[in-house]
């Protein structure tokens, strides 16, 4: 089945769950844990979400989860080497569309949340670390546990592009005090880098604007409630 590995995707919803407004963000694992627990608490008690309201699920994600995600960096990682060939306006448009796509897709999954619980694994980190992996496991009654990991960095926005050649300098342009999630890995599959080939396919066919248009088209279809194209 070509859907062979899609079981990982079933849990994508939970991947986006790590939401957290005023969360304890002193350490990255505390941050992810607090937000996850907050969101699970809401999902378990919210009647709209339980009855399948995507709209309410999107609101929840926007409020609680997204403030802790670095979407510019995520988009940069998804677009890959074409990122530095895009103008700042194109980069902003890409990040906005990518964000909409992920939020909409996974808020749908959130509404089908049933009785899963989340276990966190202890995080080994040095106080000087700026890039860490927080690991957790989703347990579902009658199913195999699914590994769910988060990459977090003390970084705001994308890494800067060099003025010539498009190489990415090693230094972060905008290190921040707080931790931001830049990738979510479900059962070993990175939600962000899994888009790289698809995006570069679109860029080869229609340039950066072609990719932006494809994303806009898909988002419009999903907003209109059309069944997803093949």
């Amino acid at each position: 089945m070509n859907a062979l590995f899609s079981k990982c995707m079933a849990v994508l919803a939970l991947a986006v769950i790590p939401a957290f407004a005023a969360a304890d963000d002193s350490t990255p694992d505390a941050l992810v844990k607090t937000v996850t627990n907050d969101v699970l608490q809401i999902v378990r008690t919210d009647k709209d979400i339980q009855s399948g309201s995507t709209k309410r699920a999107i609101e929840l994600i926007e409020q609680k989860v997204l403030p802790h995600f670095n979407f510019m960096r995520m988009t940069q990682l998804a677009v890959g080497r074409d990122w530095c060939g895009a103008t700042p306006d194109q980069q902003k448009a890409l990040a906005a569309e990518f964000r909409t796509l992920l939020v909409r897709t996974y808020s749908n999954a959130l509404t089908s949340y049933k009785d899963q619980s989340v276990d966190f694994k202890p995080l080994k980190m040095q106080s000087s670390d700026t890039d860490v992996l927080v690991r957790s496991e989703i347990k579902q009654p009658g199913g195999k546990p699914v590994q769910l990991d988060y990459n977090l960095a003390r970084l705001e926005g994308a890494k800067p592009c060099a003025s010539a050649g498009g190489a990415v300098p090693a230094a972060n342009a905008a290190p921040v005090a707080g931790w931001k999630v830049y990738d979510v890995i479900v059962a070993g599959v990175s939600l962000v880098t899994n888009y790289r080939e698809q995006f570069s396919q679109e860029v080869r066919a229609g340039g950066i604007d072609g990719l932006i248009k494809s994303l806009q088209k898909r988002n419009a279809e999903l907003a209109a409630g059309k069944p997803a194209a093949k």
């Binding site: 089945m1 080939e197 570069s200």
Partner: protein
């Protein structure tokens, strides 16, 4: 995912030939180094999607509607138990005797206390279920994935994992059932059970992907890499990976695997350490 060794129908063979011919005529140069047969693979992918739509998915939906969750869990446990022995053999081949012993313990407990595997008592007792196959063992030994294929019905496999799948099929106890109708019923039930477990994920994939073929291919390749590392794969260098390099494979040759097997004591941590490099 069907695992039949001998049950390919003539109709299917003919369709496969037709696909191959169509692809040969249209030419199938792929620009992706991981997927040199992309044209062919896309044709088989569409064939699989079509077959799924008319036959396998409806069967899985009917199964889900007819059998309540505890029943489905029991059936999934039953097939899981059948697979645990071979998983243990693979753990041994990968130099992980502690895990292998756990797998053997699972089989012993679940086959008896768990009533022929219908109940996964071992997990509740703290014996974790592993996911291993011969393709992963080859990967551990340092065999690279090679070109990506999409097989009719079976679905995505790299060249290495296609070979591994063949060995897995030979080792599959179901294939040794003398009673052919019973054997085929087990194959069929396992296929439907697997497909049913994928139903919830399908919508998310359909919505999230711009190109479903590429999305599934890349997810498959990432997933296999993660499995070979037993879930501890190091993150690929993002800045270097922007040039589209192949996923790196764990390097561990058979000699190293065997010597680890000999040297390793009860502590499993050093095994992980060494194999990650």
């Amino acid at each position: 995912m069907i695992r039949s060794k001998k049950s390919s129908s003539n109709g299917l063979k003919r369709s496969t030939l037709a696909i191959a011919a169509a692809v040969a005529l249209s030419g199938c140069a792929g620009s992706n180094p991981k997927d040199p047969l992309e044209g062919f693979n896309r044709a088989v992918f569409s064939f699989n999607e079509g077959l799924d739509k008319v036959a396998i998915k409806p069967a899985a939906q009917a199964y889900e509607a007819a059998v309540p969750l505890p029943g489905r869990t029991g059936i999934a446990n039953f097939f899981g138990n059948i697979g645990d022995l071979w998983i243990g053999v693979n753990n041994l081949l990968q130099g992980k005797p502690v895990e292998a012993a756990g797998d053997l313990g699972r089989v012993l407990i679940n086959s008896t206390v768990g009533i022929a595997g219908l109940f996964d008592v071992a997990t509740e007792m703290g014996l974790e279920k592993h996911e291993e196959d011969f393709g992963q063992t080859l990967g551990r030994w340092g065999v690279g994935g090679g070109p990506y294929f999409v097989w009719p019905i079976i679905g995505p496999r790299t060249a290495r994992d296609s070979l591994g799948f063949g060995v897995d099929a030979v080792a599959d106890p179901v294939g040794y059932l003398g009673n052919v109708p019973a054997r085929n019923s087990l194959y069929g039930t396992r296929l439907v059970d697997t497909r049913a477990s994928l139903l919830p994920a399908e919508k998310a994939i359909n919505e999230a992907s711009l190109d479903k073929y590429a999305y599934i291919r890349d997810a498959y390749l990432q997933r296999r890499r993660s499995l070979i590392y037993d879930g501890n794969a190091p993150r690929l260098d993002d800045d270097a990976a922007l040039d589209g390099g192949l996923p790196t494979v764990v390097q561990m040759n058979p000699v190293a695997a065997v010597s680890q097997l000999v040297l390793t004591r009860v502590n499993q941590a050093p095994v992980r350490e060494a194999s990650d490099r």
